[in-house]
């Protein structure tokens, strides 16, 4: 049946969108600001409680600011820290949208990183424009493959993905330990478990080292931008993305509409894994230059927070990732200048999420500045 292009008025009316109201504005702007403010305040209280004097607290927050956005190198550090968080976070977000609670980013990052580094040094001969993409691809594929294990298990036997991904994480650590002992991977002449280095022509080029060799920000940022756009397109434009969201929101309806649940689960997991694997490759090719035990450094778990904080929306994930990256970079500065342990950042991160994820809570604390009544 064809649809006639000239729509009658009734139909036209149905196509009018409600303009974003004040509620959206509050949720997207006001609440986060309050959240950060409150979190920092509570962070300060924590320091007071552990008898840190006010001066130090002041200095540490100044350091936090400087270390995150205060200077070029600070920004560079922030971006460097944010990149893997966003990449892995995007993967997790896709999973969440498809109704999969995938805790496995950590393991997928490790696998991706290993694959990237192995490809890197084994094909060192290839020219940069071929080798780098190849390494990234290897990382993505490895991550995808590793994640698919959980996907296939769920689709085939209904094994709960939370369990299988947790276990796959633990397994991946050991796997990396083992791989790093293999002669063809371990750096020659080294006793400790450390892989051969990524050849220069496989590294993600540093963007600002012509300004100052210590600026670490690297090509990964473009990777991130691309990934965000891709994830957005996938979720909200593509057919498969529609299927992800449908079977995430109501698996039964999706099945009745002729979508293949099992297939979708596997594809969703694989895509999530690919992005996490990319995060791993990004770390290896852009920051570490090689792999060693546990080089994922818990990014996979922070990414869960990032994805949730970003409400599983690609753009949200981007901002959440930048926020976390900033806190991390700033935290390091904080430790140097004020001697306050970086662990404080963990506390602040947690608090920020609380207040953003529970707007009602913020509204309860700050009744003013919010429209009365409405609470959905």
């Amino acid at each position: 049946m064809t649809l006639n292009e000239n729509l009658d008025t009734a139909t036209a009316k149905l196509l009018e969108r409600a303009a974003p109201g004040r509620a959206e504005f509050e949720d997207l702007v006001v609440v986060p600001l309050f959240a950060v403010a409150v979190a920092l305040a509570l962070g300060a209280l924590t320091m007071l409680a552990t008898n840190v004097d006010l001066a130090t607290i002041g200095r540490s927050y100044v350091a936090l600011l400087q270390g995150s956005v205060g200077s070029l190198s600070a920004l560079s550090e922030t971006l460097t820290a944010a990149a893997p968080l966003v990449l892995a976070g995007l993967g997790l977000a896709l999973g969440f949208r498809a109704g999969l609670f995938n805790i496995g980013a950590e393991g997928q990052i490790l696998m991706g990183g290993m694959a990237a580094v192995i490809t890197g040094f084994s094909l060192a001969g290839l020219p940069f424009p071929i080798l780098l993409p190849l390494c990234l691809l290897a990382g993505a594929l490895a991550g995808a493959a590793y994640a698919s294990i959980a996907g296939i298990l769920k689709a085939a036997t209904g094994a709960h993905e939370v369990i299988s991904t947790i276990m796959l994480n633990l397994i991946s650590y050991r796997l990396v330990d083992y791989l790093l002992r293999l002669p063809f991977i371990q750096k020659e002449g080294r006793a400790d478990p450390i892989s051969k280095s990524v050849p220069p022509n496989a590294e993600l080029p540093r963007l600002l080292d012509w300004l100052d060799p210590n600026l670490r920000v690297h090509g990964g940022v473009f990777l991130v931008i691309a990934a965000v756009i891709f994830a957005y397109w996938l979720l909200f434009r593509s057919k498969i993305g529609f299927e992800f969201r449908a079977s995430g929101a109501n698996p039964d309806a999706a099945r009745y509409a002729g979508m293949k649940a099992g297939l979708i689960i596997v594809i969703a997991m694989a895509t999530a894994g690919a992005l996490a694997g990319l995060a791993g490759a990004n770390q290896v090719l852009g920051v570490l230059g090689r792999t060693s035990p546990g080089f994922s450094a818990g990014i996979g778990f922070d990414a869960i927070a990032v994805a949730l904080l970003g409400r599983s929306h690609p753009v949200g994930v981007l901002f959440a990732g930048l926020l976390f990256g900033a806190l991390e970079a700033g935290g390091r500065q904080m430790q140097v200048d004020a001697g306050v342990s970086i662990d404080l950042i963990g506390i602040i991160q947690a608090l920020i999420i609380v207040f953003i994820a529970a707007p009602i809570l913020v509204r309860a604390i700050f009744p003013w500045g919010f429209r009365r009544g409405e609470q959905k």
Binding site: L153, T157, H160, L170, R181, I347, I360
Partner: protein, 423 residues
């Protein structure tokens, strides 16, 4: 009362097709195991596998359990083959899962015998270790059960364990073990209450709330331990609850040491599991709690206060987790270290699902894990050609296999993870 027809009337062809689908696969798996045992283990086993039931210095020594390795291996293989064949040809129905379970068990024992052939190790010790390693996981799982039975997903078990461990060490160092234990339980409860407040009152997404609490506790404990414990070491030197024998019972060979020569955490875990089971399935409040987890609105229409029920049980869950956390410090090593729970909370979560949201199930799941864990330690000692990393993976792989193979689609409480909005 169901109006559906009874099985007898259905045409054989139809039944068969349906049942065989599953049992075929199981059959193949079992036969695969049989081949593995026969041809991988079989060839190079010789001598006897000796399982010691007592230590060199034990007061009265029990005779060792000696298994002639080669014959045993082949018998095991035969058994597996038989099970497999039976499953493959005309298995099905309820027995399939059991057959697979038995099969896996046999395979594991065969592996043990193969590794031990010509050597010996302490079976008693292994079982005791199994129990000990299972404790925090079982308690974590139990905490999860209490929360999810009222419809609140608790990802925060890890954080609650960590909080318990920390408090146990700190207060234990200052005021002694018992006070440490008590406060650990209270703090655990406090975090439970916090979780309840976030998800029930402030309708925060339950998973996010859980993740947040984990982040928060990890941050706080690490912060304090590096900021404070580093300087004041005396704040991180708690007494450890020692194992004590339960008269008579502890003298039962093998089982005795495993169950009745342990510290209060082991006894506590066992007792708590028993109590929880009784409470959830045989008491009025248990029934109400489960109703809230399955169909909150129905419970509400019958005058059961959904919110209060959730608050209470999530807090209780937190207290159990706090107790489990104290085990790491007061029950084991007497001092706190950053992130010392190392993901046990998540494994507890797995144990809960794997144990089908049942306290006893969670305990058994935890034991399976503990067993796999102590088994890999023994195998490492017995110097099997397997690299230690792979041995270390064993517990995790085992968990995945069991969850995928035996459990399949376990059924969570219907309202699990869903906030309840009254109007």
């Amino acid at each position: 009362m169901t109006t559906s027809p009874d099985v007898s009337v259905m045409p054989q062809t139809a039944v068969a097709t349906a049942w065989r689908r599953r049992s075929r696969i199981y059959g193949i798996v079992l036969i695969g195991l049989a081949l593995l045992v026969a041809f991988i283990f079989g060839p190079d086993v010789d001598g006897d596998a000796t399982f010691r039931l007592s230590r060199p210095k034990d007061p009265f020594a029990l005779p060792n359990l000696v298994v002639p390795a080669a014959p045993f291996t082949y018998i095991a293989a035969a058994l597996l083959a038989f099970l497999g064949a039976r499953e493959f040809l005309r298995g099905g129905g309820r027995w399939s899962s059991i057959a697979l379970g038995v099969g896996l068990a046999i395979a594991v024992v065969a592996l043990l015998v193969w590794a031990t052939a010509g050597k010996s190790f302490s079976l008693t010790g292994m079982l005791q270790a199994t129990m000990v390693r299972a404790v925090p996981i079982a308690l974590g799982g139990l905490a999860g059960v209490l929360c999810e039975r009222v419809g609140v997903v608790n990802i925060a078990i890890e954080g609650m364990l960590l909080a318990g461990a920390f408090t146990g060490a700190l207060v234990g160092s200052l005021l002694g073990g018992w006070m440490g234990l008590l406060t650990a339980v209270i703090i655990g409860g406090a975090f439970g209450f916090m979780l309840a407040a976030l998800v029930v009152t402030y309708r925060m997404d339950q998973i996010i709330a859980g993740v947040v609490i984990n982040l928060f506790v990890l941050g706080l404990t690490s912060y304090v331990s590096s900021q404070v414990f580093a300087e004041y070491r005396s704040l991180n030197d708690a007494p450890v609850f020692r194992a004590f024998k339960i008269p008579i019972l502890s003298d039962i060979p093998v089982i005795g040491p495993m169950l009745f020569n342990q510290n209060i955490f082991v006894y506590g875990a066992l007792i708590l599991v028993a109590i929880a089971t009784y409470y959830l399935f045989y008491t009025r409040n248990g029934l109400r709690a489960r109703a809230v987890g399955e169909h909150p609105r129905a419970a509400d229409t019958l005058g059961i206060n959904v919110y209060r029920t959730r608050y209470i049980h999530v807090t209780l869950g937190g207290m159990v987790a706090g107790f489990g956390g104290a085990w790491f410090t007061l029950g084991s090593v007497g001092r706190f270290d950053e992130n010392m729970t190392g993901g046990r909370g998540y494994i507890g979560l797995a144990a809960m699902i794997f144990g089908r949201w049942h306290p006893v199930g969670a305990l058994l799941a935890a034991l399976v894990f503990g067993f796999a864990d102590s088994l890999q330690q023994k195998l490492a000692l017995l110097q099997t050609p397997i690299p230690s990393e792979f041995l270390a993976m064993f517990p995790y792989i085992a968990t995945i296999v069991v969850v995928a193979g035996l459990i399949g689609r376990a059924r969570a409480p219907a309202a699990d993870g869903k906030p309840y909005i009254k109007e």
